[in-house]
């Protein structure tokens, strides 16, 4: 056996490294989505704790999940901007997502200002609260990749994006249910 010739590896390494970095860059973005998903899964399913082990009231639960919805929308928006700046998605794709996310933020701010009236004050504004929640859900529906024509070809990316967006929808479900339990909504 002679000495193996490593020259060909040395020659191809820059190209291989470039491809590897590109692949890792794409994979890392998937981890971004997965991270959000995992975070949501951990917090959404029973991770609200009250000091002293007290009972979380339904209205308290509604505003807490409402705050989480705002944070999630904010983080996804930052992720979309970052992905566009790194060239992973086009300006048009980012624009479609961010336009809907901006509307979600506006509708959610309107909802939050109604909840700011307190439980009894919010009950008097039940119709507007329901309308704000419906508006957020409509924006989430418009964000599904089929409807928005985002052109995300990779099935894993499609699923990850769908999961991230659906998590906002799940928060509206919990908020709606909590407000119904609190007697704010019928």
């Amino acid at each position: 056996m002679g000495t193996p010739d490593f020259t060909r590896f040395r020659v191809s390494r820059p190209q291989l490294a470039g491809e590897l970095v590109d692949q890792v860059r794409k994979t890392a973005k998937l981890y971004l989505g997965m991270g959000i998903l995992v975070a949501l899964a951990m917090v959404t399913f029973g991770c609200i704790h009250k000091a002293g082990g007290g009972q979380v009231t339904p209205f308290e639960k509604a505003v807490t999940y409402s705050d989480m919805l705002a944070q999630t929308n904010n983080s996804i928006a930052k992720g979309v901007i970052e992905a566009q700046q790194q060239g992973l998605i086009t300006v048009d794709q980012a624009k479609t997502m961010l336009t809907a996310q901006s509307k979600i933020a506006i509708d959610h701010e309107a909802l939050t200002k109604l909840l700011q009236l307190g439980q009894s004050g919010a009950t008097a504004q039940a119709t507007q609260i329901k309308a704000s929640l419906d508006a957020i859900r409509a924006q989430v529906n418009s964000l599904t990749f089929e409807n928005a024509g985002l052109g995300i070809k990779n099935p894993t990316s499609q699923q990850t994006f769908a999961n991230d967006v659906n998590s906002i929808f799940s928060f509206t479900d919990v908020i709606l249910a909590s407000l119904q339990t609190a007697g704010v909504l019928q």
């Binding site: 959000i36 000091a51 933020a105």
Partner: protein, 104 residues
Amino acid sequence: MSGLTGGLNLAAEIIGLIELAGQVGTELYLKLTAIGQLSADDQANIANAINDAIAVDEDTQSKIAAWRVAVGIDPPLPTPPPKDPVIGTAPAAPPAKPDPGKTS
């Protein structure tokens, strides 16, 4: 030796990319965990959650608006007029025009 250095550089770059991409997810995880840790005071929890949500929604809107300007979708906002250098004072009034009816 150069192969080892190249490999280390590549590893550093890969770790850097994963760290960058995971930053938003990690940040969200920490924020959601913090939001889920409520105090014993119901009213304080409600007020904190509402104030935080409004601030975050406004941050989302401003970041998206800034991005739209940066990529050229929206025109840049007009530059505000220069402020008077002395804080708390009104800009100096223009010199008064001479009254044509008066003679000195």
